[in-house]
Symmetry: C2
Subunit: 570 residues, 2 copies
């Protein structure tokens, strides 16, 4: 019981020196690797770069205590940072104390919601983000992030928000771009792309083992940060208009207390919910994937608690909303982390960095960070997935297309909400006109098949109607129409059997429709029967008066109904 709520207890007692040395190495590597992205994502959210470091410190520690994934690394991630920036821009201006304050409130709300969802076992809510919606959203968000970074890469101050205003401002600002910034930005971009595409191959040429080659490839951003920082300091490029991170206060994150202002809480409620759910989905699917590789299991509901705790920690230590990040987790996994202790080591490492080395980051150009973001998020734009969805299902594709269009045009919140609403609507629409078939007997067998597709034996006074869907409010009226049409077009009909082999539920609306069908058929002298009603459905029907009122019987199988109702052919 205690173990379930404090997963650290399940591995700490068995901790040994072998695990420790593996975790220590991973912790050191993660510390170095995540610095650039932590700074970058804070800037993406419109926050001071140091907030990204703070948000990688205490939250990582708390997740190590509460989370069930052995290798997940928690911190600021691209999508959540984008959503955070969009949410905060609605309530304050970047650079103001109110903006920082709102980031804390957002983390707090998100943390409380995640914990509540975890304790109430409501992880299933995440299922409503269908794959097409998530995929479409991530692709569109990738584009949005790329555009948001274009200004930094060109040395332009872009004020506009929204995709098209931003693009317009960038285009109209092109004549005023800053040369040195563009040089740093594009050089970093080219270097990082080359590392991604060719780095592994080149390193293998140097006879490095594959896993080490992988890891070295990932040091690209760190190298770029070191080199461009040094260059900027050496050439004093800041004086030539290259935007840099600037002075970062040295020391551990201050303890912060998110304020309670009702109107602020209200306006951040929906964004916090969306950030929580999207962050959770991203984190938990990655966690499951990695756990599976080592035959471990994670508990989605406890993951909610772990991520919620991490966000609370961010709220009280000058951070921003966090979740399990793809790239930092993969680095951790590849670096050989075995237990959450690796996260604790990494947190300690980042604490050391904030204590001692922040002055070194003052000359780090923003353009370098923008280039690292741009390269890492372009993998989010998943064109093959979009193509596959188009091929597989137009309905799923339309939900995806709507999500992409809404996200690009109306922003991240409208994109997610619209996509979810459309997926639900399309599902309900599909189930509201269920597939149904009149079936007949395959001669000489007990099998009954669609009369249209097979050569079957039928009787003109008997209709065997199979409904391939649960009966509920959205298709109750459709069922009525179906039966009435049947009766209206076949005057010789005396018996109707509804075959319920695919009916998993009959709700109160469908029950009323069955009642109405029964009464109407009775008036026309037609008897209504049911067949192959499933156990749970039958149990529920017994709690109503329908079975008493029904003119016919409930048959266990279609064959039993046939034997009873079909006259022997003469």
């Amino acid at each position: 019981m205690l173990k379930r709520h404090l997963p650290i207890l399940s591995w700490l007692p068995h901790y040994n020196r072998r695990l420790c040395s593996a975790d220590l190495l991973a912790g050191v590597i993660v510390t170095v690797m995540v610095i650039p992205q932590s700074l970058a994502y804070a800037i993406l959210a419109g926050l001071p770069a140091v907030v990204g470091l703070y948000a990688s410190l205490l939250p990582m520690l708390v997740y190590a205590l509460l989370g069930t994934s052995r290798t997940l690394a928690v911190g600021p991630v691209a999508i959540v940072a984008l959503m955070t920036g969009a949410a905060l821009a609605n309530v304050a201006s970047p650079g103001t104390p109110e903006y920082l304050e709102a980031a804390l409130v957002l983390s707090l709300l998100s943390g409380l919601m995640l914990i509540a969802m975890g304790l109430l076992r409501m992880g299933f809510l995440a299922n409503f983000l269908s794959h097409p919606v998530i995929g479409g959203f991530l692709s569109a968000a990738g584009l949005l992030i790329a555009v948001s970074q274009a200004g930094h890469l060109l040395g332009l101050e872009v004020e506009a928000s929204g995709l098209f205003p931003r693009l317009a401002e960038i285009v109209s600002g092109l004549p005023h771009l800053n040369g040195p910034t563009l040089a740093i930005g594009s050089a970093t971009l080219l270097f990082l792309v080359a590392m991604r595409l060719r780095g592994k191959q080149a390193l293998r040429g140097l006879r490095l083992p594959p896993s080490l080659a992988d890891l070295v490839t990932r040091t690209g951003p760190v190298l770029a940060v070191v080199v461009t920082t040094w260059l900027t300091w050496w050439l004093d490029l800041a004086a030539q208009g290259v935007a840099v991170v600037g002075d970062i206060p040295r020391g551990l994150p201050p303890l912060t207390l998110p304020g309670f202002e009702l109107s602020l809480w209200q306006s951040l409620l929906v964004p916090a919910l969306l950030i929580s759910v999207v962050g959770f989905v991203e984190s938990v699917s990655m966690g499951q994937m990695l756990a599976a590789r080592r035959r471990e299991r994670i508990s989605p509901n406890q993951e909610l608690v772990g991520l919620g705790g991490a966000n609370l920690a961010a709220a009280f230590s000058a951070g921003m909303p966090v979740t399990g990040g793809l790239s930092r987790t993969v680095i951790n996994f590849d670096a050989g982390a075995r237990t959450p202790m690796a996260g604790i080591f990494a947190a300690a490492g980042i604490a050391l960095v904030t204590l001692l080395f922040t002055p070194l980051l003052a000359h780090l150009p923003i353009a370098t960070l923008a280039a690292t973001i741009t390269v890492s998020i372009l993998t989010l734009v998943d064109v093959p997935m979009i193509r596959q969805t188009w091929r597989y299902s137009r309905s799923d594709f339309s939900a995806m297309a709507a999500t992409i269009a809404l996200t690009l045009v109306e922003g991240v919140e409208a994109g997610i909400i619209g996509g979810v609403a459309l997926s639900i609507g399309l599902f309900l629409y599909r189930t509201s006109r269920p597939h149904s078939a009149l079936v007949g007997r395959i001669p000489g067998t007990e099998h009954f098949r669609n009369v249209v597709r097979h050569d079957t034996e039928t009787a003109s006074h008997l209709a065997l109607l199979r409904i391939d869907e649960s009966l509920y409010f959205a298709n109750a009226r459709y069922l009525e129409d179906l039966v009435y049409d049947l009766v209206a077009t076949r005057p010789e009909l005396e018996q109707v059997v509804l075959i319920c082999s695919a009916v998993n539920l009959i709700d109160a609306s469908a029950l009323e429709s069955l009642d109405a069908i029964n009464a109407r058929l009775k008036d026309s002298g037609v008897t209504l029967h049911l067949a192959e009603v499933k156990g749970p459905v039958m149990d529920q029907l017994k709690r109503s008066d329908f079975l008493d009122a029904m003119t016919g019987r409930v048959f266990l199988s279609t064959y039993a109904a046939w034997r009873e109702l079909a006259r022997e052919p003469e």
Copy 2:
């Protein structure tokens, strides 16, 4: 084709004197009977009483041309009037020209929406109002209406809106009630209740035939109007504080043009949609019921056009939103109407009334009208239905209870929207944790049943898993968990067969989950098969790469899978 869009063409050519005399009688009876309720519902909506007459005139005529029901009578009805009043109170004050204007805009919007829904064949939207939601809403609306009339019955001017403020104001106003008003109101109320409960019996005692007795019983409100109007005039009760209808301009309704003010249109958009859908559901279910009694059919999509036309007519003739009314339709049906010509006669009759007899209505006490409303709407409160729903399904009941509570506390719009959202949410929740069963072979047969409920033959290396639900985004992850748990708990497992006899759909999210399951099982050395995949589902799967990647096969039947995969027991 023309007949489909102008249903009048399907009956007018065969019109004869016999039909005509039946319709004429019904038209006269309807004219007399609907006057009190038309006035009453206009007042319920906060509009001048005469608006109710206007709204029973042209709309009835237009519906006769466009509607498919032979006997439906269109005009102001209680629920729609209540919703109209609630919507208008948000944008204007009763008694102002803006209020009247908003009523026209509301009719216009509602008419346009209904016609659009009809032309786009979107009548299925009405299905999303499940029976529990509609039932709960009508019950709660009945209570709201009763409370809204209580002030009129007591002679109190109630200003507050909302159930509880209104009740509080009535209670605190009790010492100031108007004696003569209370006398008229309560006498009418008692008389009408007595007519309902005992009238039919008493009249049958006078040897009247039952159908005539029915009709005479329904004249109660007309009698009450005549008597109380005469009394009020004779005793000059208006001088003693009895509120009366007052002067009504004589003449046909004026031609009106609803204004176009963007902000007004925007704020009436949602109410207009809800009024349209609720009115349509009420009207079409009644129309279907009556059509069935005479073996006629109505077309829901053409009904939308007919009701939409009626609302447009109301918008251009100083009316208010209308729909097919229960009591006026039943009067029409019982009075022997055979074709929509009865409605045309009734419209002519009401035109005559507005031309000649409106001065007679000046002394009609509002309390009399309030009493007629109260008696007729109390039938909306459907306690047996609420009890049945509780017994049949807690889930449906909770949607109903939420609808009732929200309608009473937050108003009609919140009630409907909340109820619909909750029904959809509950349905999705139910389908997100589908029923599933491990099945085994009933020895010696080709039948496979739940191993828990039946004595079956199984094989330890083979799991036959039947999923009783379509696979889609809401349960895709659940399916993954189900299979992984199975594999984790049965190390000797080599073959998994998913039996898809109840799977009517596999969407893109579920496809990705199947892909993931396949890959994960492959890693564990377990083969994944499918069985009993339905035709349409199989067609769709063939458009993806899943079938190529799947480690196992697709079997036509569970038995075929068993024969192939189960080793013979030794």
